[in-house]
């Protein structure tokens, strides 16, 4: 199982290294991967029927409870089959669709990476592992949407998709962490046992809110839906695979997966029904205003995802069953429609539904596939879409007081989806072939076979629902609802309200399709409302944020060193004074203070005078001399207070510094007074405050009784251990020898720096460039 999941990653990793050796063979090698995985997962159909679920565990990070454990039950098997099955078709299709594309190998690499991460999402039992795979799908989706990386629009869409889904992913991560802290485990299977505890805990609201954000962003629910139409910038195989059949269903998977754990509460059902209903109606209406085929399909996909959320939100057994079937039905027909759109685009170079017509004359097999897919999406009898629609209507009609309004919303959505499906699957093929598309011809079977196969499957499952009822739908239903009701799917329910609704949907949709001619003008009209769309609001928000960041940065990072210093020190001063005014008692212990003798006073006065001189003078020489005096006065303090080593060092250093200054700085231009008086006063006030604070701080520290254990140890053992009598030197060369060694290295670095600065020939003309 582990190998099955990570095989895709291995493939993706190998691509850059080996692709150049058999570039020609790539289209034949890569589809082997999903096909064999598909066969592998088909083999589980029989086992899952008998056992509730299977667990596979591999240790990964046991210390924080994260392991690679995989759970195979009906729900994950359905998704795994969809991922590998549609994956196989897409892999085959791509071989021809992107034939001779420069980066075909790269594309396959991304696709296999995506497939592997998607498998990881649906199979993981450990929620942390699932989150990692979840983010990997976002990342691979980013690469795939931005595959045409020369196109700015493509890059922007990729970034939008990544930011939205990434944001959702982070929310989900927090949700998972809270869930773990409440439920005590990252393992979904173990959490199932503590379902009641979690539902009654006070963090339940947070958990579901955060998980919802994750699911809604991924599955393009209102108001996060807008990244999906943008993602249609990707090559069609990607739209087929990621943005209709699999990745966007990850959110649905998440909700379905958590239904037995967190579901069946007021907030859970209420939120999902509301959001799902808004999304499905909103997107269904949107889809009939579009003219670009991919755009129409994108909105119809959002609408379908809305239906799924809506059904999971209703949460009755019927509704969950409907959701289960609809996941499959939708994947089959929508993938087919996308693939067909890709073929049309590929052959005619146009995706404008108002222009396309009559293509069945040149590409019959594609047209057949299109018809089947369109009819399945419409829910015409004998197709899988019909069965799913019947179950859905049954589910909403059972709801008592809410039945009417929810059913009406569902019918409305279904009508929109029908129109969208007809436009994509039927409209381009019937009528007269316009002369501009004369050159179009039937593409290679590698392109038209996949959608046709999908169509045949829709038809097969539609006519013989028993093919899948027991083997697939029953386990899916059990793992979603947790109930073990035996389900029956029938093609014919007799004359009842449900059938009436179906007919109503078909008729309304048919009429709408007949009278509503897609036109560019109507699409333009909708653009008027763009400014209040969620996309604009969220983008505006993020722009505002960027703008704010720029202003902020400009304000603080203004390139003036002293402004940085002022900012930092003003803040420090403020902070310290706040602390100091917060009640500091300074008791000076006058016994501790040593008496002052006359020569000390002379040195102190000398020092103060020279500091003031150095600050106020405009002459460099005076400043340097004053600096020297300060240094020597410092040196005298060291002499007075028993630090002969320090005094000697300070003396030598001071001599050297003054010499250095004299050598270098006298050659500089005349000192000018740059600052205005106001600035000087401001700086002076800040500096004085800073000085006062440092003084108070020193006083405060000085008050603390000093602990001299270290000094005592060093001094007591100076001779005994290190055979030295000058403790300072012993510390330097023995106790802390390593520090001294590093210090000498610092000195060497400074010397090398100076040497290279002086000897390096900086070309003076560079400053002009």
């Amino acid at each position: 199982m582990l190998i099955a999941v990570i095989l895709g990653f291995i493939f993706a990793l190998l691509v850059p290294f080996f692709s150049r050796f058999f570039k020609k063979a790539i289209p034949f090698i890569f589809p082997i991967l999903p096909i064999s995985l598909f066969i592998y997962f088909v083999g589980f159909l029989g086992e899952i029927k008998s056992a509730a679920h299977q667990l596979y565990r591999y240790e990964w990070v046991p210390s924080i409870g994260v392991d690679l454990s995989f759970r195979l039950d009906g729900l994950s098997l359905l998704f795994a089959l969809m991922i590998t099955g549609i994956g196989a078709l897409v892999f085959v299709y791509t071989a021809n669709y992107l034939k001779d594309h420069e980066y075909l190998d790269r594309f396959y690499g991304y696709l296999s990476m995506f497939m592997a991460s998607m498998l990881g999402v649906v199979l993981s039992d450990n929620l942390m592992t699932m989150f990692i795979f979840w983010e990997l799908t976002s990342i691979s989706s980013y690469f795939l949407i931005g595959f045409n990386n020369n196109d700015p629009a493509s890059r922007k869409s990729a970034l939008t998709a990544l930011s939205i889904t990434g944001f959702g992913g982070l929310a989900m991560l927090s949700g998972i962490v809270i869930l773990q802290s409440v439920g005590g485990s990252y393992s979904f299977t173990e959490l199932l046992n503590s379902s009641e505890v979690i539902k009654s805990s006070s963090s339940y609201g947070w958990i579901i809110a955060l998980l919802f954000i994750g699911a809604f962003t991924k599955s393009a629910q209102f108001p996060f839906h807008f990244w999906l139409p943008g993602a249609m910038k990707a090559p069609t195989p990607v739209s087929t695979y990621l943005h209709s059949a699999t990745m966007v269903k990850a959110g649905i998977y998440l909700l379905a997966r958590f239904t037995p754990l967190l579901g069946d509460t007021f907030w859970w059902n209420g939120t999902l029904v509301t959001v799902g209903a808004i999304t499905m109606v909103y997107a269904a209406i949107h889809s009939v205003f579009r003219v670009d085929l991919k755009s129409i399909l994108a909105y119809s996909t959002i609408s379908a995802l809305g239906i799924l959320v809506f059904l999971i939100g209703i949460g009755t057994e019927k509704a969950l069953l409907g959701a289960g079937i609809f996941i499959l039905a939708h994947a089959l027909y929508k993938a087919a429609l996308f693939l067909i759109t890709g073929i049309i685009d590929h052959e005619t170079g146009s995706r404008d539904v108002s222009k396309l017509a009559g293509l069945q004359q040149v590409m019959m097999p594609v047209a057949i596939a299109g018809f089947i897919a369109a009819l399945s999406s419409a829910g015409v009898p004998f197709l899988l879409g019909f069965i799913s629609k019947e179950v859905m209507y049954e589910a909403t009609l059972d709801l008592g007081q809410w039945a009417i309004i929810l059913t009406v919303l569902l019918v409305l959505t279904k009508v929109g989806i029908l129109v969208a499906g007809f436009w994509a699957g039927i409209k381009p093929f019937i009528g007269n072939l316009p002369s501009e598309f004369n050159k179009a011809h039937l593409p290679s079977p590698l392109l038209w076979f996949p959608p046709l196969l999908l169509g045949v499957l829709s038809l097969g499952f539609g006519i013989f629902p028993s093919l899948m009822t027991e083997s697939l739908i029953q386990p899916v239903f059990s793992s979603m609802s947790g109930a073990d009701t035996v389900i029956q799917l029938k093609l014919w329910h007799g004359f009842n309200l449900v059938l009436l609704l179906s007919v109503l949907t078909l008729v309304t949709g048919g009429l709408l399709y007949w009278f509503l001619i897609p036109s560019e003008a109507r699409f333009q009209k909708t653009l008027r409302y763009e400014s209040i769309s969620p996309q604009n609001i969220i983008e505006g928000g993020s722009n505002l944020f960027g703008h704010f960041a720029r202003i902020w940065t400009k304000f603080f990072q203004n390139g003036y060193l002293r402004n940085y210093v002022i900012t930092i020190l003003a803040f420090l001063t403020l902070l310290m004074s706040f602390r100091l005014f917060g009640g500091v008692n300074i008791h000076l212990d006058w016994d501790q203070i040593s008496p002052v003798s006359s020569y000390e006073i002379i040195v102190v006065v000398l020092m103060i005078i020279s500091i003031l001189f150095a600050i106020t003078t405009n002459s460099r020489t005076v400043a340097i001399v004053a600096l020297g005096v300060v240094g020597f006065a410092n040196c005298l303090f060291f002499v007075f207070y028993s630090a002969p080593d320090l005094a000697m060092t300070q003396f030598s250093i001071d001599t050297l510094t003054v010499l250095l200054f004299m050598l270098v700085l006298l050659k500089l231009p005349k000192n000018r007074s740059f600052s205005s008086k106001g600035m000087k006063i401001r700086d002076a006030v800040l500096s004085l405050l800073f000085g006062v604070l440092i003084a108070i701080l020193t006083l405060e520290v000085f008050e603390e009784p000093s602990s001299s254990e270290i000094s005592k140890y060093y001094a007591d053992n100076a001779y005994i251990l290190a055979k030295g009598r000058n403790v300072v030197n012993v510390i330097l060369v023995d106790y802390r020898g390593f520090d001294t060694m590093v210090e000498t290295v610092v000195l060497v670095i400074a010397a090398v720096g100076v040497y290279s600065l002086m000897k390096l020939d900086l070309n003076p003309s560079k400053k002009d460039s």
Partner: protein, 136 residues
Amino acid sequence: MKSLIFKTASTYLLPLLLLFSIFILLRGHYLPGGGFVGGLMASIAFLIHSFAFGLKETQHIIRINPGFLMPIGLVLAVGAAVAPFFIGAPVLKGLWFEEQFRFIGIVGSALFFDVGVYLVVIGATLTIMFSITDTV
């Protein structure tokens, strides 16, 4: 600055100061002094000489480029630090010769370490000062 008095004085000052700096270095373990101060003294000695006679002359006296003193000093210091390692003691442990030397007292790894510091300080300071004087 090339007055006769200064020149004459610095001719004598150089050996005296150098001697003094070595004295400071060696007594560092027992009395105030040590590698840092000694090194700085020696640098000042050379610097004074270079003021009096010019850079060329001083460089001629030193013979080697002072920059080379830095790696030599570093090697000495590091060598003194890791030497105990080879006889099985922890790095930087002080090792001592059994017998006392005349004038210097007991000699140990700490002294070599200090000599290393001394050389590095001379090397670094002179490199800095000379490269400045050179291009002024």
